[in-house]
């Protein structure tokens, strides 16, 4: 009995680590993500994460990583009396603050456009639902502005990364997270696709957290504005007073 314990423990760790229920031997897809938590402190300059797994059926792999979703307002400037002023605006619901994609082949070879739209894979196929729009322009111009700005900030990957498949069953993909990566819960979705059809899908969680003193200051300022305000004033009073005293003695 004692001899079997380490083996059982190892099995549990393996299964747990691969985020699949222990009884699902028949699942064609097992995925894990590493690291599962990213700590962003003041010296953070970006990192890479690795998604890896096993598939038991032939087919292609598509991996998407979506950052926390939030509603955003996009504004367009127009000239009013010679000055550029924010005039038109469109609000979008649930816009991912980060988006990256990796696939074992170009995605339009793996899936039809309709399927890509339905599964919302790739920059051209993600729906951005408008909450309201106050513009005479096409809403699509605002939608493109979101992608342009996010791509510029390296938060949306302009092209799909590569999923490497080895021995027909092991796969792995590397995704980049830039230094300005938003804080929150990320979801990586892995799809196993054959003949344009999704055979299996798995979700893995990734957490991006602020850490260190600057994170604490940020949380404090947002969470307890009044107390933070008093502390900031106290610090200013002391700094000014100390400065005055120090130079009076000279």
């Amino acid at each position: 009995m004692t001899g079997r314990m380490p083996f059982l423990a190892l099995l549990l760790i393996l299964c747990g680590g691969l985020s699949a229920p222990a009884d699902a031997d028949d699942t064609p897809l097992l995925v894990d993500i590493s690291p599962q938590t990213i700590e962003v402190d003041s010296s953070f300059h970006g990192t890479t994460i690795i998604l890896f797994g096993v598939k038991s059926l032939p087919g292609d792999i598509i991996i998407t990583l979506r950052g926390p979703e939030a509603p955003i307002v996009v504004r367009r400037k127009r000239v009013v009396a010679g000055i550029w002023i924010n005039r038109d605006s469109v609000a979008f619901r649930d816009v991912p603050q980060y988006y990256a994609l990796a696939a074992s082949r170009p995605i339009d070879e793996i899936m039809t456009t309709e399927e890509l739209n339905r599964n919302q894979i790739g920059s051209d196929h993600i729906l951005l639902n408008t909450i309201w729009s106050q513009t005479t322009d096409e809403v699509s111009a605002f939608r493109e502005a979101v992608w342009r700005a996010r791509t510029q900030d390296a938060l949306y990957a302009p092209t799909a990364g590569e999923v490497v498949i080895t021995h027909d069953s092991l796969f792995r993909a590397t995704l980049k997270l830039p230094g300005n990566v938003p804080i929150g819960d990320y979801v990586a979705e892995t799809l196993l696709v054959r003949d344009g059809e999704v055979l299996s899908r798995r979700e893995s969680q990734l957490k991006v957290e602020k850490s260190g003193i600057s994170a604490e200051i940020y949380d404090f300022a947002k969470g307890q504005g009044a107390l933070y305000g008093l502390l900031a004033i106290a610090a200013a009073l002391v700094a000014g007073w100390v400065g005055g005293v120090a130079f009076r003695k000279n």
Binding site: S43, P71, I72, V74, W84, F142, I213, A232, A236, W241
Partner: protein, 304 residues
């Protein structure tokens, strides 16, 4: 040495911030002004969001004015009754200002309004100072005599109060109104407003010059304290790390600026400051009229 500013959410060089604080402190020591009206635009040029530049500015002014106020206090040059009236007006002005600031932020127009306020105000102050220094340079030597204080329509207002330290018996309304306007300015621009308060106290209220500087510094400290607090509560835009680094530079810079300023002649000093003020205003104006690189901008709604 890079440092991450937690509220401004940008990384900047520590020595750049100390240097900027030092330069503004030097100028404010040299010209005898608060320097807030130069600090906020400089922070914006550095890439600090305008909202954070203003909120942090209010906090910075607390630090840079308190030692001066205490020096005047020790010499008995603060009229606390006048200060209390300024304060009561200032609370109202600050809260209204910060509330309007928040409303404009949610409407996506706050950056524009901050820039406009600065352009108008730097242009007006720069021109006034420029003309004044030219006139002074032309008229050097011929001194005009002024009465201890003139009587004007201000003195006909009701609610008269006796200000023992200022040796005045005037209405309580002007100080309250001035305090209110200063509070508004402090909230919107992150400035102390001494350049407005001092002329009003001397020319309109008729306070003795010896009391004016100490009392206005007292007013600036309390009003910027209230504004800073209101911003921290309503807009979460006070960056304590940024404020302390700038304050450290400013305190040191001011000492050298004061010494240097004593060597220069007043009108040249003012002409120099006027040029600087107009240059900063011009740059802000250029940013408003030049076609931006990207016409579109995005804001997270959760951040509103």
């Amino acid at each position: 040495m890079e440092i991450y500013l937690p509220i401004a959410e940008i990384s900047t060089n520590v020595f750049l911030l100390l240097g900027l604080g030092g330069a503004i402190g030097f100028l404010s020591g040299m010209f005898g002004v608060g320097g807030g009206f130069l600090m906020t635009p400089m922070l914006i040029f550095l890439g600090v969001p305008p909202i954070v530049a203003v909120g942090t500015g209010t906090n910075l002014i607390v630090a840079s004015s308190v030692s001066g106020m205490m020096a005047h206090w020790r010499r008995g040059n603060v009229d606390f009754r006048m200060g209390a009236l300024l304060f009561s007006g200032g609370i109202g002005g600050s809260w209204l200002g910060v509330w309007l600031f928040r409303a404009l932020r949610e409407a996506g127009q706050i950056d524009l309004v901050i820039s406009l306020f600065y352009v108008v105000f730097l242009t007006v102050v720069g021109c006034l100072m420029g003309f004044e220094s030219i006139r002074a340079a032309l008229r050097r030597g011929t001194q005009r005599r002024r009465k201890a204080h003139q009587h004007n329509w201000f003195h006909g207002l009701p609610l008269k109060v006796r200000f023992r330290r200022s040796k005045l018996y005037v209405s309580a309304l002007p100080p309250v109104v001035v305090g209110f306007l200063m509070g508004l300015l402090a909230a919107f621009m992150g400035v102390g407003g001494g350049f407005i308060m001092i002329p009003v106290m001397i020319y309109l209220i008729g306070m003795p010059t010896s009391i004016v500087v100490g009392t206005s510094l007292f007013g600036i400290v309390v009003i910027s304290t209230v504004s800073s607090f209101a911003h921290a509560v309503q807009n979460h835009n006070v960056d304590i790390i940024l404020a302390l680094l700038l304050a450290a530079g400013a305190v040191i810079g001011a000492q050298y600026g004061t010494r240097f300023g004593l060597k220069l002649q007043g009108e040249y000093l003012r002409a120099l400051l006027a040029t600087l003020v107009l240059a900063v205003g011009g740059r802000l104006l250029y940013d408003l009229v030049a076609r931006p690189d990207d016409l579109f901008s995005m804001t997270l709604m959760a951040a509103l």
